[in-house]
């Protein structure tokens, strides 16, 4: 799937010749443990990431690194390091256009249609693990685009949380450089940003005021229980760092946090790995989401 943030495509075939088969084994291990799938055309990113770790660990071959990831006493920590290497720099605004299309073209019309009789016209969106704010601002801008159309008369609340205080502060500031803005359409840059220092752009106040930022640990059960009434949860490349049990717990919380008919979106190459059987896996053109079936649909 082509997402705006993907690097230029390299011929699949040329890569297939050059890649050590061990990297495919590592790819499978990474998927099994974290749910992140490195597609064939992105295997070179995995190979680069492993290469950097191999160098730092003074190892010689991918095979030795495989042992390090599988039998070495520090294997769990090493896997985390590797995940950092391969997901680094992935964050940017407008990271997944197919997800945004699914939201605006399919989900919003569906939700609005289902709630025509409700008195309170409110949508609650949660960006869980929002890092430095790229995702919640992208969502806010897309919601603003619909504010005179589909969402006329609707109240949109966006919550954005992250474990890291510094990330939350940076998110609140909302100042981004070229790299973070590489996938942002010009129209959005002109409409929703103003010039800041060092040729950077700052998100305009009307976008900022749509979002409530706060610090939250997803493993804090008591606080997770209070995140009620969500219609959409976006949680991209966050769960990959959790072990199976903690991940299962967070996903159960998400299920409880969502309203019936709500959706959970993960990263574009990320899977829940069957850790929850209540969510329905649904496909949109180019995007995957996990759906908490609506009461009306009878699919519970």
């Amino acid at each position: 799937m082509t997402t705006a943030a993907q690097p230029a495509k390299v011929s699949v075939n040329r890569l297939a010749e050059a890649i050590d088969p061990t990297f495919r084994q590592i790819r499978d291990l990474v998927y099994k443990v974290s749910g992140i799938y490195q597609a064939e055309e992105k295997l070179y990113l995995l190979a680069d990431g492993c290469g950097r770790r191999i160098k730092q660990l003074n190892l010689k071959t991918p095979r030795e690194y495989w042992d390090h990831l599988t039998v070495h006493p520090s294997r769990d920590g090493e896997l985390r390091q590797l995940l950092n290497e391969i997901t680094i720099g992935e964050t940017c605004l407008f990271r997944s256009q197919p997800q945004l299309d699914a939201l605006r073209k399919v989900i919003l019309p569906e939700m609005i249609n289902e709630r025509t009789r409700q008195i309170t016209k409110r949508l609650r969106i949660w960006s869980a693990g929002c890092s430095t704010g790229e995702e919640p601002y992208t969502l806010a801008m897309n919601m603003l685009e619909e504010s005179e159309g589909l969402l006329k008369g609707w109240n949109i609340e966006i919550l954005a949380t992250d474990l890291n205080d510094r990330s939350v502060e940076a998110a609140k500031a909302g100042i981004y450089g070229d790299y973070a803005l590489r996938a942002t359409p010009e129209l959005f840059k002109r409409k929703y940003f103003s010039a800041a220092n060092d040729k950077k752009l700052e998100v305009r106040p009307e976008v900022k005021k749509m979002i409530a930022f706060s610090r939250l640990n997803l493993q804090d059960d008591s606080r997770m229980l209070f995140m009620k009434g969500m219609d959409l949860i976006f949680c991209c490349n966050v769960l990959i760092y959790f072990d199976g049990v903690s991940k299962g717990k967070v996903i159960d919380h998400y299920y409880g946090n969502l309203n019936f008919g709500g959706y959970l979106f993960l990263g574009t190459s990320e899977s829940l790995l069957n850790l929850n059987d209540k969510f329905h896996l649904v496909h949109f053109p180019g995007a995957i989401a996990y759906w908490k079936p609506s009461l009306k649909s009878g699919k519970l």
């Binding site: 075939n13 597609a39 399919v106 899977s271 069957n274 896996l281 496909h283 180019g286 759906w291 699919k299």
Partner: protein, 304 residues
């Protein structure tokens, strides 16, 4: 469907039969594709490929392309068959033949988009079938490749009405089959069935062509029809659709076809659908390249 519509459909299919462009190799080739790989005679395939000069040349050109990763370009058809493997050669051959049989200039539907979808669906069907441990993965491949042949009939025999149906589908954002019903009185499933029967394709393939949008109607091959139905949906959600945004969400696991498939295949429970989707994405680029190459030399009048 009324009797007069049925007559119209039959007449349309008759006309296709009489077009000189249908290479004689198509039908024997379809028969070969239905055989298990170990029953296929290599010389038979070589003979089929060599039957038509232009098709043979095109097969060699495709076989030499970097997407197949051969160290050196095959110099003869036999070398191509040996180095690429029977199944790949058959796919290349079938696609080349079909491309020739249905000339680009007459198409209301972009042939590149059509073949991307058909080849994509064929590949997904085969992979899906393999994951289920099915012995019929070659049959599944053929079924996927041919499920939408009704669109070819529509393009060839009813170009005006079909063009109107496509425009209607795009404008009203409705599925093709609904637009066809409203604008033509029949769908590609019905016109495809007429051609499949005319070609004497096996009864299970006929059912796939006829019922891939209504799998519950299948009697002779419910499992195969369900498999194609699900693969078709998945392709349309992953950049192998008909080139327009389908405003829908697809819940494959709740689709009745999934339950039908699960009845006959215990292994379905163990299929990781998300990973399967990611793997499909990996193949999309290859499919695009292959189809562009096959149609590269043809006069394709419409842009995707």
């Amino acid at each position: 469907m009324s009797a007069s519509l049925q007559d119209k459909l039959r007449q349309g299919v008759e006309n296709i039969e009489t077009t000189p462009a249908i290479p004689a190799v198509v039908l024997p080739l379809l028969d070969l594709l239905n055989l298990p790989a170990d029953k296929v005679n290599l010389d038979q395939v070589v003979k089929l490929v060599s039957y038509d000069n232009t098709i043979a040349a095109q097969c060699l050109r495709v076989a030499s392309s970097p997407i197949f990763g051969l160290a050196k370009s095959p110099e003869s058809i036999k070398a191509a068959v040996i180095s690429l493997g029977l199944r790949r050669v058959e796919t290349i051959l079938l696609t080349c033949c079909m491309g020739k049989a249905f000339p680009a200039k007459k198409w209301a539907l972009d042939p590149i988009v059509f073949w991307r979808h058909s080849l994509g669906c064929a590949m997904v069907c085969r992979k899906f079938s393999e994951k289920l441990g099915g012995a019929d993965s070659d049959k599944a491949y053929t079924a996927g490749l041919l499920h939408d042949i009704g669109f070819l009939v529509n393009c060839m025999a009813f170009p005006k009405e079909f063009t109107a149906a496509i425009a209607y589908a795009a404008e009203k954002q409705v599925p093709f089959d609904r637009a066809e019903s409203e604008k033509m009185g029949f769908t590609h499933c019905e016109s495809g069935r007429a051609l499949a029967e005319k070609w004497n394709l096996s009864p299970d393939i006929v059912e796939v062509v006829a019922y891939h949008h209504e799998p519950q109607k299948s009697v002779a091959a419910p499992g195969l029809v369900a498999l194609v139905h699900l693969s078709d949906l998945l392709c349309r959600m992953r950049n192998l659709g008909y080139g327009y945004y389908e405003r829908q969400k697809v819940d494959l696991l709740s689709d009745p076809a999934w339950a039908v498939l699960a009845e006959g295949h215990r292994a379905l429970d163990g299929v990781d659908l998300v990973r399967f989707t990611f793997e499909l994405d990996e193949a999309v680029e290859k499919i695009y390249e292959m189809v562009s190459m096959i149609f590269g030399s043809m006069a394709v009048g419409r842009a995707g």
